[in-house]
């Protein structure tokens, strides 16, 4: 398995709903170079999850566009694959069938599917469960199946929507490390949306903070740490504290004109 990353360009992206006065976010610009692991941190409701859904092509933005290696995202594609908060596996399929489902949609041959599925299952270390019923797996194992199901498509970009928030701390930490190391080994981009500062510090090369209403990117910070990262490492702790402080500062952020409008009232 070998993949290359992609250059992500988000240009003037806005999302507004007709039922709401204030847009969810307004004219967001963001660039991420090939192979980067980018974390978008923000409180619930700041629009970060919506932004990710637009990146995946599952929702359309009202304005602006997203380019991946120069191609505009117009819908879902095996080149950019999303991993959701819950694994959402198909209970009538085995682990192997679940992992290969995307390839069968793309009408791959049986032999190629078997090979690639095998590789993906090894990558997430579920070889001994290949023929298991997914309902017999633990939450962490199920999320590993979901990861393999995404990786088997050999995406240039893996989008993660708080994918480990439902797991216990130990399993979460293991998966965070694994996803990062797999992405670095294969070279694809990651965009991870999270409200967990630790997750950003462990997984990302760069973290951006989204805040305000309408939401915008208010800060960014390079997460320049050696690999593999350990939570107890003082360097990691220091950066975590810095990111936390920035995050809290950003929580009070308001766009100048909104603040002004608030003052008039």
């Amino acid at each position: 398995m070998s993949v290359r990353g992609t250059k992500i360009e988000i240009q003037g992206l806005s999302q507004r709903y007709p039922t709401r006065k204030v847009p969810t976010f307004n004219r967001v610009d963001l660039v991420s170079p090939p192979g980067e692991a980018l974390a978008i941190i923000g409180r619930s409701g700041c629009g970060k999850s919506t932004l990710l859904h637009i990146l995946a092509g599952l929702t359309k933005g009202t304005e602006g566009r997203i380019l991946l290696n120069g191609t505009e995202v117009a819908g879902p594609s095996p080149r950019w694959v999303m991993m959701f908060q819950a694994p959402h596996l198909y209970p009538w399929m085995t682990v192997t069938e679940n992992v290969g489902v995307g390839l069968t949609f793309a009408r791959w041959g049986k032999k190629e599917i078997a090979e690639r599925v095998n590789d993906a299952i090894s990558l997430v270390e579920l070889q001994e469960f290949a023929q298991a019923n997914v309902q017999d797996l633990s939450g962490g194992q199920q999320q590993r199946v979901a990861l393999a199901r995404s990786l088997v498509m050999e995406p240039e970009l893996l989008l993660l929507d708080e994918p480990f928030s439902a797991l216990d701390a130990f399993t979460r930490a293991a998966l965070q490390k694994d996803v990062r190391s797999i992405s670095k080994r294969l070279g694809f981009n990651i965009v991870i949306v999270t409200h967990d500062i630790d997750e950003a510090v462990i997984m990302a090369d760069r973290a951006v903070i989204m805040a305000g209403s309408p939401g915008d990117i208010v800060h960014e910070m390079d997460v320049d740490l050696p690999n593999p990262r350990d939570r107890t490492d003082p360097e990691v702790q220091k950066l975590r504290a810095r990111l936390m402080a920035t995050f809290q500062e950003a929580a009070n952020y308001r766009k100048p004109e909104v603040a002004l409008a608030g003052a008039v009232h």
């Binding site: 995946a56 694959v81 959402h88 009538w92 489902v101 995307g102 949609f105 001994e128």
Partner: protein
């Protein structure tokens, strides 16, 4: 590699060994219930006829007793009554069920997937559902060329609603995230039907078919009372008119047994295709 295979072989042998002993146990328990229940049924039947025939003026009812009925069975088999009825009634039932499934499943999918379709069809379908299929008989006879087609139509009318409603109810329970994941992985619209919807609701469709089969098997007997000279309904009618009450009771037992077998097959299919746990 070979070590792994050996280990997994041992593990699976252990698991299947457990399964077999558990299966044997549950089979033993089930057969006690099966034969016990049958014994109670036949005892009640025998007792009922026994007490009725205590009164000398009721002595002709002795033909209705289990003994007479079971004695009549070999004769009914040998003269071809039962095999012929199995064949013709089975054919009508099969055709009616096929029609009901071919129409009911797509309608159910439309009801479960498309909101306005469900809302628009709710009243007419609930209305039609409550009309006894047999009340269509005079109309069916006029509309269709022969009684044969009319009977198949009646069975289809009886069976289509359970299939359609069970399909729709099954689809309503399908996790919308399954569609989102599929779309995310590049599924085309037809993949949603063939790879997601159908396997997700096979259990519900089969449950609907099971209900439909029960209704259809009940409807087919009176439907065959008129117009045709074959099938279980006709055989019953014929036995009544020629006052062969032992044959009549033998046929009643066979009808019940066939219904039971059909239902058991459905239950086995439901178990085989169900991914639900517990």
């Amino acid at each position: 590699m070979s070590d792994d295979a050996a280990v997994s072989g041992v593990v699976s042998a252990g698991v299947s060994g457990n399964c077999i002993s558990r299966m044997l146990k549950s089979t033993a328990g089930k057969s006690v219930h099966f034969f016990g229940g049958l014994a109670v049924l036949f005892a009640a039947w025998w007792l009922g006829i026994h007490f009725i025939t205590q009164d000398p003026s009721m002595s002709q009812f002795s033909d209705f007793a289990p003994k007479a009925a079971f004695e009549a069975m070999p004769g009914l088999w040998a003269d071809g009554t039962i095999p012929a009825a199995l064949e013709t009634s089975g054919y009508r039932l099969g055709m009616g069920m096929l029609l009901a499934i071919a129409i009911g499943v797509p309608i159910g999918i439309l009801m479960g997937r498309i909101r306005w379709f469900q809302q628009l069809t709710d009243v007419p379908f609930q209305f039609l559902r409550m009309i006894s299929p047999l009340s269509w008989e005079p109309i069916a006879v006029v509309v269709f060329a022969g009684w044969e087609e009319a009977i198949i139509f009646l069975i289809a009318v009886a069976a289509v609603w359970p299939v359609a409603f069970a399909t729709a109810a099954g689809l309503a329970k399908v996790d919308p995230n399954w569609f989102k994941v599929a779309r995310n992985l590049g599924a085309k619209p037809w993949h949603m039907v063939t790879r997601i919807i159908i396997p997700a609701i096979t259990f519900d469709i089969l449950t609907g078919i099971r209900l439909a089969l029960g209704v259809a098997w009940i409807v087919i007997i009176p439907a065959e009372f008129l117009g045709v000279t074959s099938g279980f309904g006709y055989a019953i009618q014929d036995a009544r008119e020629s006052l062969e009450y032992s044959s009549l009771m033998a046929l009643v037992v066979i009808i019940g047994a066939v219904g039971y077998v059909l239902d058991t097959i459905c239950v086995m299919l439901i178990r085989k295709f169900s991914w639900h746990r517990g």
